[in-house]
Point group: C2
Chain length 221, copies 2
DNA sequence: ATATATTTTTAGACTAATCTAATTATTAGT
DNA sequence: ACTAATAATTAGATTAGTCTAAAAATATAT
């Protein structure tokens, strides 16, 4: 009976943990991620510890327990499956699905996500290129992905994901005719501001370093 | 921004209103329907009136305003569409979908229900035979349905709906090989206890009056 | 190592929705 | 019309989650 709020905390802590290695997630980081106040987070961490979902020592941050992590992964699984459904079956665009998936992910029922998974033919990635955990919570993602900003002049690669899935960024990608699977060539990396000239199809575009940091590429040999 | 709770109140009041004609729905009736206490209902009715969703005079019951009714119908639309999805696409059985639909119905987004509707090919009835309101909230159900309990000996008809969609009742129907569209013949109505002998396919069954009151039939000429 | 800055926690209040118990209105029976 | 029964409302408490402001702990800088 995890409440929606609890689920959002678990998901948030999981997301922050991924970027850190090992150590506890700070109260402030959680507060910022969830757009709430540190005091609320402190309160909630006490409860989550009580429920055995996080390890938590006052003033020393929190980390998910095995149970907490498993719940977080199930929510991420649901979120990404629903996104696939919304895009592939209901024909929404990839910049339109986040808010709906954010609600759908809280609908309970293990059978529901498993059957949805089967109905969608066990997709491995969601519309933004993020890997979808399988029914046992395993996340298998063996792609060698790296930010466009880490490529060098003349490197060639394929778009495999984004680090920013906000609507503005995704719409800009659409504008540049960039989607998952699109090939591109790095024509030039400008030393001055680290902006990148890329060639997509027959078009050449100059994109900012900020942009390049958020686009994930699988480099071609 | 109607909360889930508010949506459930509107749906509940709508359901009760249908059985009554015209007059206000009583506090107690709502409390019973929503499995809550009359005092909670009193509180909530004040708020719903405040929001313009119900007309309400203390001690004299409540009724939906046009806006409240429209919201209620949208929720019923979502509920029934999701039920179709769960049964037709995810292969759940008709006795398994209620709780999931109960959660899914609260997911917001007019585009969501409309696209789901299209994806399902604009179904007119849900898996229990209840009509699905269209995108404009119109409920078109021109079937001449009546409870099995109102049929007479030798009457013939087709199952078109249920008044009780609880899992036990639906499972019993499965057991009797009765589903939407199944033809049956009333072999005999027992005067003593109003139980009904029906013939389904080659099988003859005796069902209680209680049962017969909950099965909706379209009589054949 | 100590003062300062930062982070985190606590204390106390607020909101939405609920409950129980007590009170007040309405309805029904004679 | 008056009393008894029923139904509905209010009063006051409770819970989950949040907030602000104040206090306490930890981290940083010289």
């Amino acid at each position: 009976m995890a409440s929606e709020t609890v689920e959002n905390y678990l998901k948030g802590i999981y997301a922050i943990e991924k970027h850190l290695d090992g150590k506890g997630v700070s109260t402030n980081a959680i507060a910022e991620h969830l757009q709430t106040k540190a005091s609320s987070v402190s309160d909630m961490l006490k409860k989550l510890k009580q429920s055995g979902l996080v390890d938590y020592k006052k003033y020393h941050g929190a980390s998910l327990t095995a149970e907490g992590r498993s719940k977080a992964i199930e929510i991420i699984r649901r979120h990404r499956l629903w996104e696939v459904f919304l895009v592939d079956k209901l024909n929404f665009k990839w910049d339109e699905v986040h808010d709906m998936a954010e609600q759908l992910e809280h609908v309970e029922g293990k059978a529901l996500s498993d059957r949805l998974d089967a109905f969608l033919d066990f997709p491995r990635f969601d519309p933004h290129g993020d890997p979808i955990p399988d029914a046992e919570g395993r996340i298998r993602d063996d792609r060698q992905k790296q930010a466009l900003s880490t490529l060098a002049t003349k490197d060639r690669g394929v778009v495999v994901g984004v680090l920013d899935s906000s609507a503005p960024f995704l719409k800009y990608l659409d504008h540049l005719k960039l989607k998952l699977g699109t090939s591109l060539l790095v024509e030039e990396v400008i030393d001055f501001d680290k902006s990148v000239k890329i060639i997509v199809g027959k078009q050449s575009h100059s994109v900012s370093h900020q942009f390049a940091k958020n686009l994930l590429i699988q480099k071609e040999a």
